[in-house]
């Protein structure tokens, strides 16, 4: 799960970069950049969740 989260984060980044190229108008561009960040935030949440599970199983 942690690796899935870490793979989703670059996907959000590429969405952000795509927004720069595909949307010359400021409004849609800003909206898609924010969407890219939201995807990254979701990936981060999944990665955090994955590490929490691991800690729960292997608490030193």
């Amino acid at each position: 799960m942690k690796y899935a989260g870490l793979l989703v984060m670059p996907a959000g980044f590429f969405l952000t970069v795509a927004a720069l190229v595909l949307f010359p108008a400021p409004g849609p561009r800003a909206a898609f950049v924010v969407c890219g960040l939201a995807v990254e935030a979701m990936g981060l949440a999944v990665a955090v969740r994955g590490h929490m599970h691991r800690r729960g199983e292997e608490r030193p």
Partner: protein, 422 residues
């Protein structure tokens, strides 16, 4: 660059290492007494290794503005992604004034970025692991982001290519130093795991307070001096700010730190009944980190606001990471450097009057989260297979000083009870 600018920037850059010294004191004070010598030696060793590796490889990949580099041609635009300068600082003596000063700035930056994960791994992170992290950051990760931001890479060219403000702004290194270091700290903490006994199977997490609040609070004062120099030098180098604007940058740096400390003081007083010294120190640092992103481009009132937000969020986020997310970060670096740094670069866009600046700052934040964190995590996980980050259980129980150095920092102290026996 005029002679006056050159002389002033050089003088500022010679003061900037005080920020690193302050950070080293804070990292040491927030760890336990039986790991104090290892912690401080680690700070010194990591800074040294980061500087050497950066001189060998990193400075070449980091490049200089207008210098040679590799670029991709996509979407009708050139995307500069990494520099291609001479290795081992070849031709440094004959380089232009600005390039020489920029390289010195990057030396301190890479040392600072490499120190940040060391504080988060306190009390269980081996010296060899810390040095390996420094090598990775100095050889590849920092130069990559530094080129994007400071040396004409695609983030710096967002203005020319896409009309976004003046391009991604990071005059004091909030992104290239602090967010990068903070995200590396998160990766280290995930890979190394928590200290023994920190999260027992039953009940709440165990409190493991720093061993020396005096080091921590004195480190805050030392760091302020370095940060003032750092932000002023960054404004000259990366924004071409006139000398007359530097007093505002300095005042903003001070105000952001003071506002953050005041806010953290109030929040901890409200939450716990008494102000918490280590969290207040974290708040102070968070204000300084936020100022790295915005002090050179905002007014004093907005700098106070930036500091207040950083100071309010810091204690709450430290608590959230520890209690809700089981992240054991003794120095609070993930909050102080990653979160406050992200807020600093966001504030620089939020308060900018230039059209598109906020989007440029968001794109920079997306690059940090979407590229830097996955890359450092995967690289660190790979290194951890060959050079274990975490000390063995007996070493952790004994203390990093005795285990790694053979002698303690305070040989006359009474040994404390071990929390891991709880």
């Amino acid at each position: 660059m005029t002679e006056a600018s050159f002389a002033l920037t050089l003088a500022l850059l010679l003061l900037a290492p005080l920020a690193i010294a302050g950070m080293a004191l804070i990292n040491t004070g927030l760890g336990r007494s039986r790991s104090a010598a290892q912690a401080l030696l680690g700070n010194l060793a990591i800074a040294a290794i980061a500087a050497i590796v950066f001189a060998f490889v990193g400075a070449s990949l980091s490049g200089v503005a207008g210098g040679p580099g590799f670029a991709l041609y996509t979407g009708g635009k050139l995307w500069g992604w990494i520099g291609n300068g001479p290795f081992l600082l070849g031709g440094f003596g004959a380089a232009a004034d600005h390039a020489q000063l920029a390289t010195i700035f990057e030396f301190w930056s890479v040392a600072m970025a490499a120190l940040i994960p060391w504080g988060s791994g306190a009390d269980r992170f081996r010296l060899a692991g810390g040095c390996a992290v420094a090598v990775v950051l100095a050889a590849f990760v920092f130069p990559l982001f530094s080129f994007w931001t400071w040396s004409g890479g695609w983030l710096a060219e967002l203005a020319a290519n896409f009309g976004l403000g003046t391009g991604f702004l990071d005059p004091g290194g909030a992104a290239a130093v602090h967010v990068l270091g903070g995200l590396s700290a998160l990766a280290v903490v995930w890979i190394a795991g928590p200290r023994r006994g920190k999260f027992p199977k039953e009940g709440l997490s165990t409190a493991m307070p720093g061993h020396n609040a005096v080091y921590v609070l004195f480190g805050c004062f030392v760091a302020l001096v370095g940060w003032l120099a750092w932000n002023a030098a960054g404004a000259i180098l990366w924004l071409q700010a006139p000398l007359a604007s530097l007093p505002v940058t300095a005042v903003n740096t001070i105000l952001a730190a003071c506002a953050a400390l005041t806010a953290t003081f109030a929040v901890t007083r409200f939450r716990f009944g008494k102000p918490d010294a280590s969290l207040c120190a974290n708040g102070w640092l968070a204000g300084l980190v936020a100022s790295s992103g915005c002090a050179a481009v905002v007014t004093p009132g907005k700098a106070i606001f930036a500091g207040l937000v950083a100071g309010i969020v810091t204690p709450l986020m430290v608590e959230l990471l520890e209690l809700a997310l089981s992240i054991d970060d003794p120095s609070g670096a993930i909050t102080v450097h990653a979160a406050a740094g992200l807020w600093g670069i966001f504030a620089a866009g939020l308060f900018s009057a230039t059209s598109g600046q906020l989007v440029a700052q968001l794109v920079g934040a997306a690059a940090l989260l979407g590229v830097v964190l996955p890359v450092v995590y995967l690289l660190f996980a790979l290194i951890n297979r060959f050079i274990a980050f975490r000390v063995d259980p007996d070493g952790e129980r004994l203390g990093m000083d005795l285990h790694e150095l053979g002698g303690g920092a305070y040989p006359e102290f009474v040994i404390h009870r071990d929390e891991s026996y709880r």
